[in-house]
Structure formats: C-alpha cells, structure tokens
Amino acid sequence: MSATRRDFLSLGALGGAAALVLRFRWEADAQVVKSMAADTADAAFSPSPWIAIDASGKVTLTAHRSEMGQGARTALPMILAEELGADWSKVEVRHAAPGPDFPDMRTSGSSSVEDSWAPLRQAGAAAREMLLAAAAARWGVPAASCRARDGKVVGGDGRSIGFGELAAAAAALPVPRQPPLKSARDYTLLGTRVLRVDGPRIVRGTAVYGLDVQVPGLRKAAVARCPVFGGQARRWNAAAAKAIPGVREVVPIPSGIAVVADDTWTALAGRDALQVEWDYGPQANDSSAAYWRRLEAALDAGGRTTRAEGDAAAALARAPRRLQARYRYPFQAHATLEPMNCAARVGPDGCDVWVGTQAPNEAQRDVAKLLGIRPEAVRLEVALLGGGFGRRLGYDYVIEAVELARRVPFPVQVVWTRPDDMQHDFFQPAALHEIGAGLDAAGKPVAWVHRAATFHLSMFGPFSAGDPELYDGSPWGGYDTPYAIPALRIDYAPLAAPVPTGAWRSVEYPSTVFARESFLDEIAHATGRDPVALRLELIPSPGTVKLRTMTLDNGERLRRVVRLAAAKAGWGRPLAHRREGRRWGRGIACNAYHRQTMVAQVAEVSVGARGDVRVHRVVCAIDCGQVVNLSGLEGQVESGVLWGLSATLHGQITFAGGRVEQHTYSDFPVMRMHEAPQIETHVVPSPLPPLGAGEQPVPPIYAAVANAVFAATGARRRELPLGAAAPRQAKAT
C-alpha cells in the first residue's frame, strides 16, 4: 500500500436485513475523511457497503478486485474473517461496481492481497470491537473479558451470543479509530488451506464469465479487423453477409467491420461472407527479423544508464577475465482461455457494460468519455475472467463493444475468436539482453554491465523517449538485481512498440531474469564454481532494504529461499537417470520481485536425442510474507511455473507481412497435462505482511530450466523457446 493511502472507516445504517454496515476506503484525502466521518448516518453509504453483518449473522464483503484465477475473491474475505472472528461458513463475497464508492478496482501487479491487507484488517478489527462492546454492554461486563470467534462473542464465563443478534446494537456504537489488530500467533484461518469460494459454481458450470452473461435481447457480433497492424478497411461489400438469415446489421466501427447477428455462429458466418478490401498501411512489410534488427541496433547504440555503481567500464577493462553473452526473448501472447468479449447496451439512460476486466474504473471512464456522458451513467458489471494475466488490463475490447452498441438499437456482445484474440493481443514484447562481467583472479564478478533493449508497453500509452518514468527502475530484474557487485551499470533502451504490447504476468522480469540467471550460471561453470554457492556469495549481507516503514534484510531472505530450494531438490546429489537415451540435469535460478517476494526454483530436466526438453520436477521456495490462503499460494506457484514453462519451452509470437503468424493453441502451444512437471512449494514463514505471489513464481523458471539443460548437455541455450517434444495433437471427435 502506498504511503499516501489512508484508511477510512465509517458506519452506515441500512434498512432491511443488513444490520451493521461498515464502509471504508483508502484513497480518500484527509479532507474527505473528515467530512464523511462527521456524517456517519449518511444514507448515501448504503449502495456499496464494504462489509455488512445482517441479523442472521451472515457477513458480506463487497470485493473490489476482479477474480481471474488468482484467488482474490477468497483471500480478501479471509483477511476480514480472521480479524473479525467470523464463522467462515457464514462469510459471503459479492462484487463491487466501479464508481464513486469503488474508485480503485484495478486488479494488477499481484497487489490485491497486499493492498487490501491493512484496510481489511482494520475494518474487521473495528467491527469486532463494536460487536464485543455490544455484547459487553448487554452482559454488563468489561469488553476486555470478551472474545470474538466463529461468528460469536464469547464471554469470560463461557456464554456466547451470535454476531447477528449483536449487529443492530453494535451499529449504534462509535467506530473505533485504531482498533487492536490480532497477532499472527492467534490466526486460525490465515495461512491455512481454504477452498476457493467460487469452486462449487465452477464445477457445476454456473460460474458466469463475460461470455456467459445473459441479457434480454442480446445479439452477437464478430468484427473483421485488419490483420496488419496499423491498417484499415478501404471498402467492403456486405451483400453476401446480409443475405445470411439471422444477420441483422453490418456496421463499420473504428476497429473494423462488425457483423451483428442473432447468434454467435451466424455472426461468424456473416463475417466470413464479408468481402473487405484492406489498406494495409505502412507496416505491411514488417517482420520479426526487422524487429530483432531494431532491438540489436538499439542495444548497440546504447540506451540510458538507469543505475550505476562504481566505474563499471573501467572495472570491466581492468578485469583479468571477462565474459559476455546475449540473450533473446521473443514476443508472447496471453492466450487466456476465454477469448476477449464484451457486451454493451447504449440508450438514452446511459450505457450498460457486462465484461470481465482488470480495469473497471478506467474502462468506465473511457466509455463515458467516448459517449460524452457522465461516468455514473456507465453501469459496468464485472464478470469472472476466464484468465487475465495482464491482457484484461487493456480494455480495447470494451471500447470496441461500446462503439458498436452506440450504433445499434439493442444490446450486443462482441465475441472474439481464438485467432482474433491471439492476433490482436497486447503482446509481451520481445527483448534483447547483453551482460558482460569482469572476473577477478579468483573468478568472482567485480564488474557487471547489463544492457537491455525492448519495446515499450503501448497498453499504457504512447511512446515518449524522453519520459523519465520509462526508465525508472528498469529493466525489472536488472535495475533491481539482488547481487552485490562493486562496479555495476544497467543500461536500458526502450523502443516504440510496432505492435500492441502490454502487461503480461510478471511483465518485464521474465526476459531479464532469464538473462541474468543464465549468465550467472555461465560464470559459475566458467570458473568452476557451484551455481548455488556463487549466488549465496553474491547476495549481499545483510542486504538492507527499506520497504514502506519496514527495514528488511533482503540478503538473508533471498539466501534462505536459495538454500531451501537447493536442499529440498537434493542439490549436489546425482540425479537418478530414470530413462535411457535422455540426458538429465538440474538448474537453479532465483529472483527478488520488486525487492519484496523472494523466489528460488530448481528444475530437473531431461533432454532427448533431438534436443527436446522435458521438465520433470520443479522445487520452489518462496518468501512472500504472511500467507493468506496456503492453497491459493501453492496454486499460484504451480500456475506461475507452468505459465513460465509454456514460454520457456513453446511460446513465441512471430510476425510476417505485418501480421501475427500464429492462430491458436496448435501453433502457439502451451503446456498440457502430459508435460506438467511435479511441482513442490516450500514456504518460508515470514513475519512480514503479504507481499504478492501471483506473478512472482514466473520469472526464475526460464533460467532454472535453461541452466538444467546446460547441466544435462553442456549446450548453453540463450534463445527462447527451448523447444520440447511436439505437442500432442488434440484428439478429433
């Protein structure tokens, strides 16, 4: 949570079933806090209460973070329930809607738990203190003699009374400003394995994703978009499309030509029948080779130095031994299993939007701007996301659906097909890294020059070479390298993205950590050192870092996960060669994600005669602060490892003729069941608050695997993907 955020608790009275309603926000400035705190009975509190305890004892949290698999809808109410002493079986979660009550619903940066931690604890503690006070008053005993647990207040003499019965009386009490927070020693829910709240709906097929929303009169649309980036439709003939029964309209919109029909299949058939002549624009001859040449030229020209310690160039020149290597990381697609889609209706009363998005407020704001109406007149309902991974931080598909909806007199859902989704993604950009190190006589790195070239993220705005924010802290994983080297320089050369680019699970870390951790392995092997020992030696001691108000010894935290992963993996012990004809190896890599969450991973791989790489086992050690949901954390580690493995082994988006060459999961393969390794998660207990775990397990896996391939074969792989056995073909029905 940023230092400018303030917790704000307030109380509102609601009619009906809700008896105690607590509202709070943390992005209010001091002035707003004061005036709203003075007016606690304001009925305007009612539309979006954060927390409500009704007379039956049911506790409802209105969750302000999108659910895309990361587990926010389970973890957030757990934090509340722990502080409150609630009965978990009586806790429900409902979803917030963007607007004045919920101005900060952006779901990104692995921050849902981290940002919600302090406010939810404080709100839960305040509600608990009010319930305790209400029970104490009823019994005529001191509040300090009472405890809250399992949805009841329990008196010192053992008698108890349910939250539901106390809620009305508690609501009349003042809200404590600084309620005492539970000690981690007393946690009974946090750190345990709690089942995902949406599990029962998911397994019965009743969970509602964006594509599943049911709106009366909803028609479906497919949009013909120019396959070449920067192109547009010159002219089109809609006659054949309109001749198809069920096709309602053919409508040009800024992103292409939309075919609207009674159902999805008819819309797709209509789009197929559309004859469009494209003006491919200036990028019609673009190719991956050209993009690589741009990155190479940018790297060679040198970027801006974002971090310098000592005189790295001089130290490098002086060093008795030098090593240097370049690493390439290709473009990646998100390929969320639910393709982009958005339903919208525009009418005289405003606009309704039904969509799975990671950026509800920004989408609402820009839809309002587009339509020239107030943001409050844009009612945006956030559905479950069939995968987000950063793709749904972009809301191009929301704007597109509203552009269509404003031109037709009925609600309409734009459905993207898999090729639409894969070819019009905000890609993770390709990156080129070169690292040079000077080694002293003992083989220890004393100089380190890391130069990176990549494309900027167009999802977040146009490229501006002079914008200092572009360079601040970049590249992630290079600027914040966890290793102490006396002379160090980090250069960063971002280029204007020629294709849409954006946030992708762990953003800039994968390419950088692949390069950094591979290069460290190269140093270890070149100097006859053990890769684990070399890391332990280079991680500073104590490695003091300031994190908000805390001072941490991140050196020790990172060393601990490296040691733990190595120990659990049996580092240094020979690998059992379980199958003939394959060469086996083990590799390690680690990372300190934004100097917060520490991860180390050991991969065990085998390499076949044709160079195909199989990953058999991944041991992951993680220190991510306080664990909220252990099942969720383990799931995020498994998910992050497999996400990274898809890119390590298979994934790359390439361009030819200005367009994407891949279409679907056959030419952009992702990991499948038969390739999934055994994944072990080992958690380092931590007294720190939660620090994030959704993206953090991704970055180290690339180099852990590449280093294991080197250990197996003696061949250093500096380009991705490494390649695996041909993915198994889907069985035809």
Binding site: G69, Q70, G71, L195, R196, D198, G199, P200, I202, V203, R204, G205, T206, V208, Y209, L211, D212, Q214, K220, P245, G246, D263, T264, W265, T266, A269, T336, L337, E338, L384, L385, G386, G387, F389, V415, T417, R418, S631, G635, E638, S639, G640, V641, L642, W643, T664, Y665, S666, V670, M671, R672, M673, H674, A676, I679, R728, Q729, A730, A732, T733
Partner: protein, 155 residues
Amino acid sequence: MTIELTVNGTRQSFAGNPETPLLWVLRDHLALTGTKFGCGVGVCGACTVLSRGRAVRSCQIPIRDALGLSFTTIEGLSPDGSHPCQRAWIEEDVAQCGYCQPAMILTAAALLGARAEPTDAEIDEAMSGLVCRCGTYPRIRRAIHAAARLARASR
C-alpha cells in the same frame, strides 16, 4: 429443418442453420453456458460434452450431426454437483480461473467411466487434449485419483 436432440435428458429442438456447431446451440439457444468456447477448432477442449459416456468436442459437431443424439453437459452431470469428479474438484481446490474446468471434469468423468482407477499415463492420454492456461494440471491429476477413490467408496 428442425433438428431434435436430447440434452441433459430433456428433448430440445433447433430450427436454425444446420451447420451451427452444437457448442453454439448449447450456449446461445439453450443458455447452457457451462460449455465453453476456447478455440472453435477442436484443439483446446473447452467445449467438451459427453455423448454416450464419451468426451466429445461440441465445437466440432454440426448440429445436423446431432440429430437424435443425446448429450450431457456440465449442468447435467449430476443433479446437485455430487458427481465424484465435481466433489473431488472442490476438495482438491483445483480451479483457478475455472474456465476450462467443466471440460476437464467431463473428460475425467468419461475417463473414469472407462477406467475405474486410471494410471498417470492414462490420465495424460485422456487429458492432454485440453488446455488449462492457469496450469492446474497437478491438481487435476490429484482430483482424478481422488474421484476414483470417491467413486469406489460409493459403490
């Protein structure tokens, strides 16, 4: 031409374009949205439904070929979510985003119908045609073994 078929034990008819894939008839016309659209070309498996106990891809079945056939979607796998796979999926906390899981569960149910106690190799064989972008494969494997135990216990 009207095409009659049975879905989750209920007779249904469809009078639209006979080339329409079963997937879109289920989703757009019968409001059975538990069957998911992932790729439309049979490579991700998200649209899997059961036909005579076998897992089939509803995006690859034109509705004209469904004439007279009977299908089970995730909504019809059990009346109350109590199929061993559904129970095991919850107990093993398999789902992340959950979008692929109806297809995973139906495919696993078909596997368990054919092999009461499948080996890991048989699980790989049955499940590797499906994509989970969240990477829940380790838990899917555990859940299939758990479902086999649950099914055995209730026999």
